[in-house]
């Protein structure tokens, strides 16, 4: 299934680098999803495809849809059927969810920067 999704870009990375990226993406799925949804609304299928295209990491359905449902229930995301297509719902960040999202990004970026600064000392 993974291979059947076309990659949008070829990544020039060592195996080790890809393995690290894989771990970062998997353990921060919520932040990555929100980051992509901040750019434009998307359905779960397109999100999985987009993440694969950007990071070369395939997130399975069972690790993505529960996050979307939880964030929707918490009021961070809004789900709407796409016009003329009742087969998929697009998720977008709500007005209330914007602040939550910004705080998430800020925390994520700070943590990465701090971690990198320790490595570069």
């Amino acid at each position: 299934m993974e291979n059947s999704i076309e990659r949008g870009q070829e990544l020039d990375m060592s195996e080790e680098c890809q393995a690290c990226l894989d771990k970062i993406v998997r353990s921060n799925r919520d932040v990555i999803l929100l980051f992509i949804l901040r750019e434009r609304p998307m359905c779960g299928y397109d999100l999985i495809k987009e993440i694969f295209s950007r990071y070369n990491v395939f997130l399975s359905q069972g690790t993505v849809y529960p996050i979307l449902y939880s964030l929707e229930e918490e009021g961070v995301l809004r789900a709407e059927f796409n016009k003329g297509n009742m087969r998929s719902k697009s998720y977008s960040i709500t007005t209330e969810g914007k602040r939550f999202t910004e705080e998430k990004f800020e925390g994520f970026i700070k943590a990465l920067e701090y971690s990198l600064s320790l490595f570069r000392r």
Binding site: G44, S60, Q61, G62, T63, Y65, S70, E73, R87, S88
Partner: protein, 221 residues
């Protein structure tokens, strides 16, 4: 567990069902399998904790509307996961539903820290959607293992009680629901066919729905 969950259930259970038990809820259509499973979870979670009701057959909205019509209230800790969006969007390459269910459980357990109850509605739908080449017997064994490792008290709904798949011997308990036709009309019944480490009655008991939800009355002979 469950001995205080429904009005009259102590007519069936002399002792509590051990936590972590995996129980099949079987019966034909219209016997209230979903209603019973949801009621048991909702009742156990009324004082806190977290549980997951995973539905492959209905959307979350339609399931909740059905439960409301049965007088069953949902509590904050009772999460519902419906597979509808996933199934529609991935129609051409449907995911491995057992693996997906395990991942969904892992997510809710990690997020809430204390997931203790789980219901799957239904095993039949899960089988229907599973890849025909999969060795379901073996996969089911690992799925049950996963539920046990998580310590989840699980209610697995199955439409056909006459089918004897691997789940029947892997499960700790089997609750049978059905209909009996008598001189005074059709009545719903509940019967515990098997429940490990629990003292229980074997007779069929009448099950009714009123505005307070599901209640269990005396035996039907």
């Amino acid at each position: 567990m469950f001995r205080d969950s429904l009005k009259g259930i102590d007519r069936l259970l002399d002792t509590e069902i051990p936590e972590g038990s995996i129980i099949l809820v079987t019966g034909a259509e219209g016997t209230l399998k979903s209603g019973l499973a949801f009621s048991l979870l909702a009742s156990e979670l009324k004082d806190g904790g977290h549980g997951l009701y995973a539905t492959l057959e209905q959307t979350k909205e339609s399931h909740l509307s059905n439960m409301l019509s049965l007088g069953v209230k949902r509590h904050e800790g009772l999460h519902i996961f419906d597979y509808q969006d996933m199934r529609l969007e991935w129609r051409d390459r449907e995911p491995d539903m057992l693996k997906t269910t395990e991942e969904v459980l892992d997510y809710y357990s990690e997020k809430h820290g204390s997931l203790s109850l789980f219901a799957l509605d239904s095993m039949n739908a899960l089988y229907t959607l599973s890849d025909e080449t999969t060795n379901l017997r073996r996969e089911m064994y690992y799925f049950f293992d996963h539920l046990r490792d998580m310590g989840l008290t699980s209610l697995l709904i199955m439409e056909d009680s006459s089918r004897r798949g691997p789940e029947h011997f892997l499960a700790d308990g089997v609750i049978e629901l059905g209909l009996v036709e008598g001189a005074d009309g059709v009545k719903r019944y509940i019967r515990i066919r098997k429940m490990r480490a629990t003292k229980h009655r074997m007779e069929r008991h009448q099950m009714v729905v009123d505005r307070d939800g599901i209640s269990i009355l005396g035996p039907i002979y």
